[in-house]
Amino acid sequence: MIIILAYCNAPLPDDTAYNADFATVMPEGAVGAQMQFNTLKFIPSIETETVSGKTKRGRNFEHVISSDEIYDIVITADELMTLAKRAFVTNFWKSSHKYLVTDTTTGDYINVVSGGGVLPMDYINESKYLPELKLNLKVANGDGIS
């Protein structure tokens, strides 16, 4: 599936529609970029945070505190062949404001978070020429505590 990843050093307004020219949607003076990727895997899912337990009478309780849409994305070596794409991925990982577009015709920039730590790049056959990126993106403004 074709997706767009984008990053910026200033937040985009909510519900910004996708625009092929990223410079037009970025706030003034901000620095960022967007790039298209043909993912190997793109699997949306849902994650909830709950408080649950068992009472002394043996009954179960579970309060759903929040729920977030999550995206399981794998971009493999065929889309990471150029230096430009590699550099984009690195800057994306470092950025505080990350965005995902899943539908380039009618979609908006979805503010996502990726978790921190080491950039999740695997190397197929242990070759530095065959990188594969596994991203687990979580929607930032999910249906929080509702």
């Binding site: 408080v51 009472t55 002394k56 009954r59 309780f61 579970e62 309060h63 505590i145 509702s146």
Partner: protein
């Protein structure tokens, strides 16, 4: 500026629970809905709440101050408004920027949803997460996680309402404290005169006339209402917000028995008025419930206190602010400074809490509207809600049954009736020498110190007491030379307009509540007074109610009917001081907010059904071993909620419960048997004086060369060897008591001396033109040492300013000496 955070949690089984938090620098804005919120109101979600706690303190009888804690992480501020919301709260560190906040459990910001309202604390702590800049750079622009807390406003506000200390407003300008407002010239005179009434105490039958006696009292609720009104004005000036306080009519949960005279001596002859006999001053078996209220009913009475309880300055006859520069170094009386309300206590909240503690009540503060705080005294018995509360289920539960003896031994409460008299049925002896009172007081202090040393028990003095105190008066008959000794209840004065004899009144007795221009011979007295319909038959019917000291308290404690002749005994019993008792405490965690109900079932369950004082019943079947057999018993145990903690980030309520038997108070069906308490021992004088004898208070005039002469009516001083000499205003005789010679004599003679009470000598005294003035002692080698002019400056050996007493008729004055030394 108003900042609002709203969120909601879907609670399993109970649905959506909304939570709303508001912060503002304008108090009234906290209660605006979103529609009415001003333009520019910020909506944010950066505040991270932890817990909200409410506690009930068992010992002190006060609700613990509510505290709300929350965190702000600067990294969670994603937008400019988020940052503004953060910095707005951080401004609270500046004393001049006040930040009010309120937490509502529910969508609407209304009083019944209000869980907490308070003021952000100036103390904020935080932990740094990241710094910017190169090494050594001071421009760190840190990212931090801040921890903030807020204290509930009701109590913390009253703490700012200071009685004697300096009060500053937000611009650090000094404003008047409560004492200055109370005694401000025009205010006090007007207010005091309208509320501080002399109330009818008893009526005395003379040979041909009735003498009506009054005691100068003040309704405690009236006094507290006034203090709260002054506090409201003070806080308006300090904070710029207007909050009014309403003290509710409160049942104090104490049943008292008023004092009465069980047997009158009929009037003997002429004006030998022998109505009172101190061994017949007893508790009357009519129960009266004490209340904080404005009016009495057949079974209840407002709580009255002596007017002298307001401030120590009232005791010295002078209640206008500003003394005349005389320094007291020789005062032999125990300091009255720590017995009056406004001299001892520091703030309005201390006044309320101390009174609540001394009456065994809890103080409940709540918001009846967002700008009105209601204050109620709730007795321990009814703090426990009458119906049961039910909880849905628990996640964690544990109990602890352990001794509740304080680690440091406990607190012992005691009370004094005045600076020289003990609580209870004490009597101020006519021949009461200062040394006697000093030693009696000292004995009590020694006893309390022993308690501390041997049993590590601290002693605290109550502000009020149950003290049907009497005082002895010696009267010299005008017709014969007989002197008789009578007892009268302390602090009763004759018709306060000055004349000794009262006149009869027809009609509504209210009309003769006369305003006292001065307390006269009144001294400080901590006793509780009640109003009741007439007790003694000799009081004419037209006197609808009389006021008496409360003589005893009756209560049912743990099923046993008891009588307490001292307030300290009752309070110690309530707080179980010094005794060991076992208290089972339960700690329960309920994984819900709304899992509480007043019926057994889920319909209508809500967080509002759980309050401090809610009672839960838990039953179990146990096996008891007795008489060689095991029997199955179905045991119901009642527990009272004394602590509630709500987690604001997830549905969870932690409650602390104690065994209800700590609260098992009640009122006896019938009045238990009353035991007459023996009166204190007789004081030592030259000869013992009992209250049935006609007086013989003879003292020997000191031997001097040349012999001393003392004339009838002159002031004498009782020397350390119990001889007497003509009194001088000389500081060389610091502890010498003063008296009036009732006969003339010279060295070696034994003459009678009156050392207290009204001295009436027609034929000897003529105080024309000086009625209602003070009578002074002067050094005068020749002639009377009584004078109408006080010493104004030390000269030679005359360096004591001495008031012998107040002249209350042409031929009499009330002997109550006070001495001060010029420095």
């Amino acid at each position: 500026m108003l900042i609002i955070q709203e969120y909601s949690v879907n609670e399993h089984n109970f649905g959506r629970q909304a939570i709303r938090f508001a912060v503002s620098n304008v108090y009234s804005e906290l209660f605006l809905t979103n529609e009415l919120a001003p333009i520019g109101t910020i909506y944010t979600d950066i505040y991270d709440f932890e817990k909200h706690k409410q506690d009930l303190e068992l010992e002190d009888g006060k609700f613990g101050i509510d505290e709300l804690t929350f965190e702000i992480n600067s990294l969670s501020c994603k937008s400019e408004t988020d940052k503004k919301a953060m910095y707005f709260c951080l401004d609270a560190t500046n004393v001049n920027s006040v930040r009010y906040c309120a937490l509502f459990f529910g969508e609407e910001p209304i009083a019944e949803n209000m869980l907490f309202v308070g003021k952000l604390n100036t103390k904020i702590s935080g932990e740094d997460i990241a710094w910017r800049g190169a090494n050594f750079s001071p421009n760190i622009r840190p990212e931090r996680s801040y921890k903030l807390s807020a204290l509930s406003f009701d109590v913390s506000m009253l703490d700012e309402s200071k009685i004697n200390d300096d009060v500053y407003d937000l611009e650090s300008v000094r404003i008047s404290n409560l004492r200055e407002r109370m005694f401000e010239a025009t205010h006090f005179d007007t207010w005091f005169k309208s509320v501080a009434l002399h109330r009818v105490a008893y009526v005395e039958w003379g040979a041909s006339q009735r003498y009506i006696h009054y005691t100068p009292l003040l309704n405690l609720k009236t006094y507290l209402d006034k203090m709260l009104a002054l506090s409201s004005t003070l806080l308006q000036e300090k904070y710029g917000i207007s909050i009014s306080f309403a003290l509710a009519e409160s049942d104090l949960g104490i049943d008292v028995l008023p004092s009465y005279v069980s047997e009158f001596e009929t009037a003997k002859e002429y004006d030998h008025i022998g109505m009172f006999r101190s061994d017949k001053w007893l508790p009357y078996p009519r129960r009266i419930r004490l209340k904080l209220s404005d009016a009495k009913t057949n079974t209840t009475s407002p709580l009255f206190v002596s007017q002298t309880m307001i401030d120590s300055r009232l005791i010295n006859d002078k209640y206008v602010v500003g003394e005349d520069g005389i320094v007291d170094l020789l005062q032999y009386n125990i300091d009255t400074m720590d017995m009056a309300f406004m001299t001892k206590l520091k703030t309005m909240s201390e006044l309320l809490f101390t009174l609540a503690r001394d009456l065994g009540c809890f103080l409940v503060l709540g918001y009846s509207a967002f700008d009105e705080i209601s204050i109620e005294f709730i007795p321990r018995e009814s703090i426990v809600n009458s119906g049961y509360t039910y909880l849905v289920d628990v996640d964690e539960s544990s109990f602890d049954s352990s001794s509740n003896r304080d680690a440091d031994g406990g607190t012992n409460f005691y009370a004094l009736a005045s600076n020289e008299l003990d609580e209870g049925a004490d009597i101020k002896r006519m021949g009461g020498l200062s040394s006697y009172y000093v030693s009696k007081y000292q004995k009590k202090i020694n006893l309390l110190e022993e308690l501390k040393e041997q049993k590590n028990i601290d002693s605290k003095k109550l502000m009020l007491s149950i003290s049907p105190t009497l005082q002895e008066l010696m009267r010299l008959s005008g017709r014969t030379d007989e002197v008789s000794i009578h007892s009268v209840p302390i602090n009763v004065v004759a018709n306060p307009t000055g004349a000794m004899h009262a006149w009869e009144y027809e009609g509504n007795f209210e009309g003769i509540y006369a305003n006292g221009t001065s307390p006269g011979s009144v001294q400080l007295h901590t006793g509780i007074y009640v109003q009741t319909t007439r007790i003694e038959e000799t009081i004419p019917e037209q006197y609808e109610h009389i006021t008496r000291t409360a003589h005893a308290i009756i209560a049912t404690i743990n099923g046993e009917d008891k009588v307490f002749y001292k307030l300290a005994d009752y309070i110690n019993e309530i707080y179980k001081t010094g005794q060991q008792y076992y208290e089972t405490a339960l700690n329960i965690k309920v994984p819900y907010w709304n899992g509480f109900n007043d019926v057994e079932g889920a319909a209508g369950a809500s967080w509002k059904k759980l309050t401090l004082g809610s009672v839960f019943k838990f039953s179990e079947i146990v096996k008891r071993f007795a008489d060689d057999v095991f029997t199955d018993l179905d045991i119901d145990r009642d527990y009272v909620v004394v602590g509630i903690e709500r987690d604001l980030s997830k549905p969870e309520t932690t409650i602390k419960l104690v065994d209800k038997s700590a609260y098992a108070f009640g009122y006896p069906e019938t009045i238990p048997d009353l035991i007459p308490i023996p009166l204190p021992e007789v004081v030592n004088g030259n000869e013992s004086v009992t209250n049935t004898d006609t007086g013989k208070g003879g003292y020997v005039i000191v031997n001097t060369t040349p012999p001393s002469e003392i004339a009838i009516g002159e002031a004498v001083m009782i020397l350390s060897d119990n001889t007497i000499a003509k009194a001088e205003a000389n500081s060389s005789y610091p502890g010498a008591d003063l008296g009036i010679a009732l006969a003339s004599g010279i060295s070696g003679d034994t003459i009678m001396v009156q050392t207290g009470g009204r001295v009436n000598m027609p034929g000897v005294y003529d105080f024309t033109g000086h009625v209602s003035e003070n009578l002074f002692l002067r050094t005068n080698a020749v002639g009377s040492n009584l004078s109408h002019s006080p010493l104004l400056a030390a000269s030679g050996s005359e360096d004591v300013y001495c008031i012998l007493g107040r002249i209350d008729s042409l031929t009499s004055f009330v002997l109550r000496p006070k001495k001060w030394k010029f420095v």
